[in-house]
Symmetry: C2
Subunit: 429 residues, 2 copies
């Protein structure tokens, strides 16, 4: 694992590599994905049947074959291990409670001249949630995408997921039941994104598509952006840690590994002024590695993309971390809250030694769908607002237009828009 000092001659070169992490090469798959989207757009369910046959190892024959029924969900839920059921319900309740606090409100303001201005907030009618399938199914992803849409008040939530060999994952079914979904659809990949963007005989066209996925799904989301809204284009997972000498090396080590185990392309970066912590943490990483089920993935990620950076002081650590703009940021210092004003770019900020990043993946409440690859500089975590939209409200009284109409007409005239000008002047007659 790379250990770097910020005063080393080659530091900036190495650091630039970290900054360039996680850029996905969408161009390579763009033509394939465009074809898939066009096929679904033109031949709808028929195209879906073919794609499923090709990728998911089963062949739907009629439209209904695409549907996962509520009955199947209920059965899976009833067979669920009791402890797991409790854990999923706890997660559901906490995620719901957090996202309820995000709900924006409609507001109005008034002026003495009779002007009323405001902003109306309305949920979108239909939201589409993509859930990756096969062996990598994560029930937590379903909760994190569906709950914000429920809280937003979306009327119809369309869940799509690939179902390999037509054998649905029982945990997925149970999680769908917990979320109260009336049905879901067995279709995955770029085909699922296309189906939700344009609609088919069975799958309704939605207004917004969210959810993680591989590069085909990410590319499809980018291509249909504008036809529908999307949450973000997410790449491999990342963790950044800012720690001082008070941090425990075993905590730091296992937290870095918790991102590394996601993906060989994941990035785990710690920045600390404590050389002692740096070296001890590195040691602990190799100890823990041996105990992991996903050791191979975690090891490759740590070796190729992990880094511990030894810096001059905490201020420098924060500056560098703001450049990295990590998806997850742990701050493990004596008084982590005092650093919050300076932390500008991070998807989620985990404060203190009792807040390991996995707490945020499952149980804390905030969303675990977070901007990656430095896009925390401009994207927010998945939240209820992606499932809502605003309309401006404007109401002028006779008095208001008499007061401001002349200025408005002058601006319209200046722009050469005489119908705009006349439209105001007509009211001033």
């Amino acid at each position: 694992m790379l250990v770097l000092k910020t005063d080393a001659a080659n530091f900036r070169v190495k650091f630039e590599e970290i900054l360039k992490r996680g850029k996905m090469d969408i161009e390579n798959v763009e033509d394939i994905v465009k074809n898939i989207i066009n096929e679904v757009r033109e031949r709808k369910n028929k195209a879906l049947f073919e794609h499923i046959s090709k990728f998911d190892k089963w062949t739907p024959i009629k439209d209904d074959d695409l549907v996962i029924s509520k009955d199947d969900m209920k059965k899976a839920y009833e067979n669920l291990d009791e402890d797991l059921k409790c854990a999923l319900h706890l997660a559901y309740d906490r995620i719901k409670a957090y996202h309820e606090k995000q709900l924006p409100k409609t507001w109005l303001t008034f002026e003495d001249n009779g002007t009323i201005l405001g902003q109306k907030v309305t949920p979108v009618e239909r939201a589409g949630v993509y859930v990756p399938g096969g062996k990598a199914f994560y029930p937590s992803s379903l909760l994190m995408n569906v709950i914000p849409a429920i809280v937003a008040g979306v009327e119809e939530i369309v869940v799509t997921t690939p179902v390999i060999e037509n054998k649905p994952n029982q945990l997925l079914l149970a999680a769908l039941y917990i979320c109260g979904m009336p049905k879901a659809f067995k279709v995955g990949g770029a085909s699922a994104v296309a189906a939700m963007a344009y609609g088919t005989e069975t799958i309704p066209k939605v207004d917004v598509i969210t959810g993680p996925g591989n590069i085909f799904v990410a590319t499809a989301k980018k291509l249909v952006y504008g036809e529908v809204n999307i949450d973000m284009i997410a790449g491999p997972s990342e963790i950044g840690i800012i720690a001082d000498e008070s941090a425990k090396p075993n905590y730091m080590a296992i937290d870095l590994l918790s991102q590394a185990e996601h993906d060989e392309m994941a990035s785990s970066i710690m920045i600390t002024p404590s050389e002692k912590l740096a070296l001890k943490t590195k040691e602990k990483i190799y100890e823990f590695l041996e105990e992991l089920e996903r050791k191979d993935i975690a090891e490759k990620s740590i070796e190729e993309r992990g880094a511990i950076i030894i810096c001059k002081n905490i201020d420098e650590a924060i500056e560098l971390m703001n450049e990295i703009a990590p998806e997850h940021l742990e701050v493990v210092t004596k008084n982590p809250f005092e650093l919050l004003p300076k932390i500008k770019n991070a998807g989620a900020i985990f404060l203190g030694e009792n807040t390991p990043e996995p707490i945020g993946d499952y149980i804390a409440g905030p969303n675990h769908t977070l901007p990656t690859g430095g896009s925390a500089k401009f994207y927010s975590p998945l939240n209820v607002e992606i499932f809502m939209k605003k309309s401006s409200i404007i109401s002028f009284s006779k008095e208001a237009i008499e007061k401001m109409g002349k200025d408005c007409a002058l601006l319209a005239k200046t722009e050469g828009l005489t119908a705009h000008q006349k439209s105001v002047l007509e009211r001033l007659k």
Copy 2:
């Protein structure tokens, strides 16, 4: 101009054409735009010089040639007609006051077990605003894009605009001065979008790009989406009017024309249960048309894309309008506010006969950059939040992790993520 009744046999066919309005055929220009972007990405200012030479009829020689200086802005401002200066300041102040009300706040919540959850709001560091140039320069567009970024607290706002023959529009310069911009950059089209997305020797890389533009600009924005955030992909302008028999035909006619004059591709649609209003409005439209400077554009738009729909009642009007999801919606009925609960999809809603749409273009305060082509179903008006992003805040106490850690570890184990599991269990030891 098309007049349609909802009970006519061919109504749905005609209505579907309205729903399909304003789809831009980005694919046709995608390859050209990709080339432009790649050139700017690779050769930076050198590529910009070539593109300016090709499209803007002048040839920059050195990097500084791209810069519009504060001095030039000041001179233009000082030469501005006094009435126009006042009108622009009024617009500036009202737009600023409205957008200040949109500012989201950082919040924190607490649980008795010591858990702290919240959401931190931070402005992006740099925002890029594209301003169309040449004969179609609209000072109002500059205000509507720059002011939300100022209100959001963005440190550096990068304004780019094409300057034909290197002769800057004096009104643009004055408006830049009113906005307090320290400088701006003379580059337009897809090149400007690429420069802001990737940075050049002179133009800094930004986090978010907003602003209207032609199909090349729109396509470039879509292509760089993900590298930076963008506001939306906007198409031709539109107005929808819901009116009852109380509406004045001359008001309705000139308001419909005020969108039609923007663009031959603009759509102006009125839906009313009053056949009398429908026919009178149509008559008035042809009268007003003769008086417009942009008669040819407005006429083509009204003939090819305008429509008056006679419906059964106001409820049907609202239903149809929600399907259309117009950029601008005027509601001119006896009591327009009582219809607000049912209005779901519209960029901006103008209530009552004294609120003509142009009031919202210039002076009311809400943004005039609004979702078009039906995308009001999922996009919001341009607002301060595009220039800000959120970070989740999570802090667990020892007590909190002891209470919830077991459930969290179980979920991690269920997903096969043993480092996640251990990261939590390590704290429970």
